[in-house]
Symmetry: C2
Subunit: 218 residues, 2 copies
Amino acid sequence: MAKAKQKPLTEKQKAILKFMQDFIEQHRFPPTIRDICNATGIKSTSVVNYNLNKLVNAGLLQRSQRKSRGLRLKDRADLHRVIRVPLIGTIGASEPVPVPEDIGAHYDEDDLIEVMPMLLRGCDPAEVFALRVKGQSMIDAMIREGDIIVFRKQDVAQDGEMVAVWLSERGETTLKYFYNEGDRIRLQPAHPTMPPIYVHPAQCHIQGRVLSVIRINV
Amino acid sequence: MAKAKQKPLTEKQKAILKFMQDFIEQHRFPPTIRDICNATGIKSTSVVNYNLNKLVNAGLLQRSQRKSRGLRLKDRADLHRVIRVPLIGTIGASEPVPVPEDIGAHYDEDDLIEVMPMLLRGCDPAEVFALRVKGQSMIDAMIREGDIIVFRKQDVAQDGEMVAVWLSERGETTLKYFYNEGDRIRLQPAHPTMPPIYVHPAQCHIQGRVLSVIRINV
DNA sequence: TTTGACTTAGAACGAGAGTTCGCTTACAAT
DNA sequence: ATTGTAAGCGAACTCTCGTTCTAAGTCAAA
């Protein structure tokens, strides 16, 4: 399906969006079409309906047909909410990373951590999980015991990405920047004065990419 | 006004609350009374209406009369929202910390960062601000360039708290654990192998307490 | 048993609210 | 001038949905 050419929003449409943001902020449920009429000075519900459909088409809005107040802001509303990420265990040097098989599964309340969307860096929440750091082994990655690391589950990586890898020959988990040098993998610590290590590609099992780090036990 | 005696919620009322949480999570607008009927197996809208009024009376719910979907959860809603914290500048070794005088003032959209409530560690948002780390000088605090540090504005500290201090004699800002040893202040780096420094209390100007650290430029 | 408070069901009412349709206006392209 | 498209208005229609009313069932206290 071809993407529709992005027309700039009309003044009415901007006013509708603005009002919806304010209304939802205040009431915590969406306005009716007639609410929008009154707030924007538009005389006819059909005009609002018309412009709402435009906004849906522009991807800024979602509607539930035939439902009162069946309006959702697409863009901004999500940004003001937290996202629940499963905190599935710990990560330490001497154990493999506990990668979840189905991230979308049901978790207990206690095993979920609420993070702001920025920490997911645009990734699908269904691919994201978090681990708490155990032990002092991640110091060369500038990560402390107790830090929470947000990962995207993946088993390949691009050069320069920080990944959690299981080094099967050493029986060791580590966090390093990943560089594929063809016949070998260079794993570069985050700490500027630490030297890289080199491993054979067959020994380097990528468990996930580091998206962000949270430190609350300062 | 005397507070009504707190009766325990009935199973129906618990089911209604649970369903409302799930529904709002999923649809981002509240359910109708008939939605609740279907979800909970209650046969009559009047029964739902009856129990909704009970929940309002118990302070768990708000209703807007005569409005479709005019329901709001009272308690939990805020917990799932982000808090905007002013990101007012950078912190580096060679400059004083730019402490804001009025945190509650108006900030531009770009100067606000949205964080989950946990990062404030219970502090009043009006006391909290954030700074981005510039330069490599915070490595001994296990903090990298680009990290965002969330502070509570305060000029005194308890032992063991991590604080940002301006050392007036050295002309230097640093992040250390604070220990008051009477005639001197011991400032302990986060990195376990680094030695502490000792300063005279008069030279040690506390700028704020570190609440949390966010690293998104991994 | 009787009483009364609490809870449930069912139905009906009426206002709330989304949708559709015909008609008009504005404006640029042909 | 004509055509076509986008935008607006007003009214009517129909379904949604909150509210209210009556009646009945439950259960503990008197």
